[in-house]
């Protein structure tokens, strides 16, 4: 049926025929939907590997002076775990996978602006992953995902491979950012003004801007590190006249915007799912859209809050503290608007909604500990302790990963044409939600009590708490098996999803599942915003079946 739609009817506009060979269709595909699936599969694999590294670390930390892993292996494990989760998992899944899968459909486009570049972006990801995980052969980087010099200058060849891997990801991210920006600016369907765009597209636009602008700085820093490691040009080594703090500045000038690259798309996902299952308009559409822009802009002026103990003068610390606290305000506006969207809804508590509510709960907590870290004197105590480990996992796991799973459960039917099992989904949610909190909540406490991060052995007074954390982390890892089983079951025997199983109103639900090649038979004309449940659909040129038949 998809093939029939794609080929039998040739709509107006410049249309290429669909690819006819296996390689063009599934390997070097330029179709944004196929590329999205490639991202999901590749990054999903990296997620498993990086997750296993985390379980290794928790096994080591189960007792205070454990000798399961050597200090070197442990250091390699957490460094690659962090690097992989940030660069090979969360960023590619939220931009490459979700951005590719959903954004062109939601703006009524037939593909992204530069399909070849899109393919190229994706194909930088597997070599980066091979370089990063392959670095274990020569001795993986040990100084964490931040790789502060001078210690990173002294490490074995694996650190150079790390530089190359992250550089490739940086190039991929920059290109994707450019590609998405142009797509969103130039290729929206007629009538889709900025304030009629779905909120996921808003989030993707800001994310693309951040990826495009900020990532080049990371590439510069990495190139400097690689050149210094290989040829000895002293950028960062103080013994030769370099500055180790320089690396910190450039690294965080990218890596703080990167934090928002990793959370804004999740905000977008949440903003799509809530109105669908509340059957009502999102509360404060403009506030949510513009707060994404505000967060994006301010995110460029907060980087030194990672460096409050790096010897910056107080007058330098002050503006970074203030800007960081300011980020909390638009973020708060979003959270309050989402909660207000629940008010007066006709709420269907599906698995995507469970994950959204879980996201709201855990991300709010992570946001608040973020403010606690923004306050300079408090940060002097909290910095580089398990309190920070807890905070970052509350925003990156409790925020981004919960958002990713919400989006996966929500758009899986669109992507594959089949439903995921709701009961298994809810089992997955409860296992993950409870074990996530059991894993990371106690870390706040031991951090404040005095346990530093990045240690393979620790004072025996933290023994019991760490054992509890390790057991919880194993359950957390196991909860992913429920999802894997669900995904396989759905692929083999899932119920047909139909075009619009959730009764949503954004454009991706107006076409078959999975969408045909070139997406839209006719480019739709957009008459108003997407969230006015109870009103007629705001699209022309769309033959949509709007009957909301409960699938599950």
């Amino acid at each position: 049926m998809q093939a029939a739609v794609g080929t039998a009817h040739v709509p107006h506009g410049h249309i290429h025929p669909p690819p006819d060979t296996f390689i063009k269709k599934y390997i070097f595909s330029q179709d944004h939907k196929v590329i999205a699936v490639q991202y999901f599969i590749t990054s999903g694999l990296f997620f498993v590997l990086a997750g296993l590294l985390a379980e290794m670390m928790r096994a080591q930390l189960a007792s205070a002076n454990n000798t399961l892993l050597s200090p070197t292996t442990y250091n390699e494990a957490y460094s690659v775990h962090g690097s992989a989760m940030v660069w090979l998992v969360i960023i590619p899944i939220l931009t490459g996978a979700f951005g590719n899968l959903i954004m062109p459909l939601q703006i009524g486009a037939r593909d992204v602006a530069f399909p070849w570049l899109n393919m190229f972006s994706f194909w930088l990801l597997p070599p980066a992953g091979i370089l990063l995980f392959g670095s274990f052969i020569w001795g993986a980087p040990e100084a964490g995902w931040t790789e502060y010099p001078p210690i990173s200058l002294e490490q074995s060849f694996g650190t150079s491979m790390w530089c190359m891997a992250i550089f490739l990801i940086g190039v991929s991210s920059t290109i994707t950012g450019l590609n998405f920006l142009v797509t969103i600016i130039k290729m929206r369907a007629p009538g889709m003004t900025w304030t009629r765009m779905p909120l996921f597209v808003w989030a993707t636009a800001v994310t693309a801007f951040l990826s495009f602008i900020a990532t080049a700085n990371l590439s510069a820093a990495l190139l400097g590190l690689l050149i210094e490691r290989t040829f000895g040009v002293p950028f960062y080594d103080p013994a030769k006249g370099g500055s180790p703090v320089l690396w910190q500045h450039i690294f965080w000038f990218y890596s703080h915007p990167a934090v928002y690259i990793m959370i804004l798309p999740a905000f977008g996902i949440v903003s799509e799912i809530l109105p669908t299952f509340c059957r009502r308009p999102i509360f404060g559409y403009k506030a949510i859209a513009y707060s994404s822009v505000a967060i994006g802009l301010v995110s460029f002026a907060v980087w030194a809050h990672h460096m409050f103990t790096s010897g910056l003068a107080p007058w330098v610390q002050l503006p970074f503290m203030i800007m960081t606290m300011i980020v909390g305000i638009p973020t708060g506006v979003k959270i309050f608007s989402w909660v207000a969207t629940l008010w007066g809804g006709n709420i269907r508590l599906t698995t995507p909604m469970y994950f959204v509510l879980g996201f709201l709960s855990t991300f709010t907590f992570g946001g608040i500990t973020g403010i606690m870290l923004a306050s300079v004197p408090a940060d002097v105590h909290e910095h580089a302790t398990y309190f920070v480990v807890a905070h970052l996992h509350y925003v990156l796991f409790g925020g981004s990963v919960f958002g990713i799973f919400a989006g996966l459960y929500y758009w899986w039917p669109k992507m594959t044409g089949r439903m995921l099992d709701e009961t298994l989904g809810k089992i997955h949610f409860w296992l993950m939600f409870v074990s996530f909190n059991a894993t990371f909540l106690p870390m706040h406490w031991i951090g404040l009590e005095g346990m530093p991060r990045r240690v393979s052995t620790y004072d025996p007074q933290y023994q019991d708490t760490n054992l509890f954390i390790s057991i919880s982390a194993f359950v957390l890892g196991a909860s992913m098996l429920v999802f894997a089983y669900n995904a396989i079951k759905s692929t083999l025997s899932g119920r047909e999803a139909g075009q619009n199983p959730w009764g949503a109103r954004t454009l991706e639900w107006m076409i078959p599942s999975p969408p045909p090649y070139y997406n839209f038979e006719d480019i739709p004309v957009v008459l108003s915003g997407p969230y006015d449940y109870g009103k007629p659909l705001p699209y022309r040129e769309i033959k949509a079946d709007l009957d909301y038949k409960p699938i599950v």
Partner: protein
């Protein structure tokens, strides 16, 4: 199909839920106020009390935010859930926004942030500025090494390794730096932390207020021995105890250390050496073959390793040359080994270690 939009009102149920959340918040906030932080982590410096107060201020206002966000979320999700017989596509409230509500939930957090910003900023000069040295104050240089601390006191010839002695109620300024990689000097009981960055000297100032022994922890990854940079302590002492320690240290340094004569070297005790090795050397060395290195090589075959007939110093592995490395340290291809002064080894310790190393096969 649709059965028409229905608008909801803020009814008694909503206000009841709001009041319940208010009570829970109040309990939580009261809990924050009375929570005895010092029972779990001593507040051993003046600044620690202030920082804990700041933390409590943040936690105090976090409680209602968390309670109301989670509370309303759960209450709405349950209250407005799709019920049996209710059509799935029946639209909910059509309210898009509410200007006053949005104003207040932007304004109130903004005011809280402003207050927090000011409170935070007034605290910074309390610990950051290096005070002009008064007759009473102490300035100590702290230098980070892989993997030990070195403290230099005014008037003492040699640095003191891994032990920081401070007189109570005297303002102290610690000038931090490092000679190799970045370390971070953290005393949780003081709530004070400063990265030690090679090429930079950064001061921090505080006043210890409680006599006791508090752990120093390294919080910046500094290499394979990073996890072991704990179990070193700050000793906050009464003025007289501090003066006594200082005098003793001075006397100790004034007397030349026992010469490492051949006789002393020959009299080493392998048993004592083994204890010492396990306590001091295993941060960087394994008692295993050469290739099982940590920072430095494994030392099991030190005296008879056909694959490595020479020491890393380039000399033959005689007891005297091994002792020479232990005494003076070594800067070689694998990094830097601190000298006996920094490792806190006496001549007898060196002799014991050599005796122990000789027994390894």
């Amino acid at each position: 199909m649709n059965t028409g939009q229905q608008e909801h009102k803020l009814d008694a149920g909503f206000w009841r839920a709001t009041i319940v959340m208010g009570v829970i918040s109040a309990l939580g906030m009261w809990g924050v106020v009375v929570f005895p932080i010092e029972r779990y982590l001593p507040e051993a410096a003046g600044i620690a009390v202030q920082i804990d107060w700041l933390f409590k201020f943040m936690a105090f206002f976090s409680v209602p935010i968390l309670v109301y966000v989670n509370g309303y979320m759960i209450y709405f999700a349950v209250r407005y859930r799709n019920r049996k017989g209710q059509p799935l596509d029946q639209p909910g409230s059509s309210i898009h926004d509410h200007k006053a509500l949005e104003f207040w939930w932007t304004a109130i957090p903004s005011v809280l942030m402003l207050v927090l910003g000011i409170l935070s900023y007034v605290l910074i000069p309390q610990y950051y500025t290096a005070r002009a040295a008064s007759a009473d104050s102490v300035t100590i240089e702290a230098i980070g090494h892989q993997f030990s601390w070195e403290f230099r006191y005014p008037g003492l010839r040699d640095p003191v390794p891994d032990e920081l002695h401070l007189p109570i109620n005297v303002p102290v300024t610690i000038d931090s730096t490092s000679t190799d990689v970045i370390h971070s000097f953290w005393v949780p009981a003081f709530r004070m932390k400063q990265d030690m960055i090679p090429g930079m000297v950064v001061p921090m100032t505080f006043t210890p207020t409680e006599i006791g022994k508090y752990e120093i922890v390294c919080t910046e990854f500094c290499g394979v021995g990073h996890s072991g940079m704990r179990d070193r302590f700050v000793y906050v002492q009464s003025r007289s105890d501090f003066d006594a320690w200082y005098a003793a240290e001075k006397t100790k340094q004034a007397h030349a250390p026992t010469q490492l004569t051949a006789a002393v070297l020959a009299s080493g005790d392998a048993g004592a050496g083994q204890q010492l090795f396990n306590a001091r050397c295993t941060t960087c060395h394994n008692a295993a073959p050469f290739d099982q290195r940590k920072v430095g090589p494994g030392l099991a075959n030190l005296f008879h390793d056909p694959a490595h007939p020479k020491l890393l110093s380039g000399k033959a592995p005689t007891p005297a040359d091994v002792a020479d490395i232990l005494e003076h340290g070594l800067s070689g291809s694998m990094g830097q080994m601190p000298n006996a002064q920094l490792n806190g080894l006496s001549a007898k310790d060196i002799a014991d270690l050599v005796a122990y190393l000789k027994t390894l096969k």
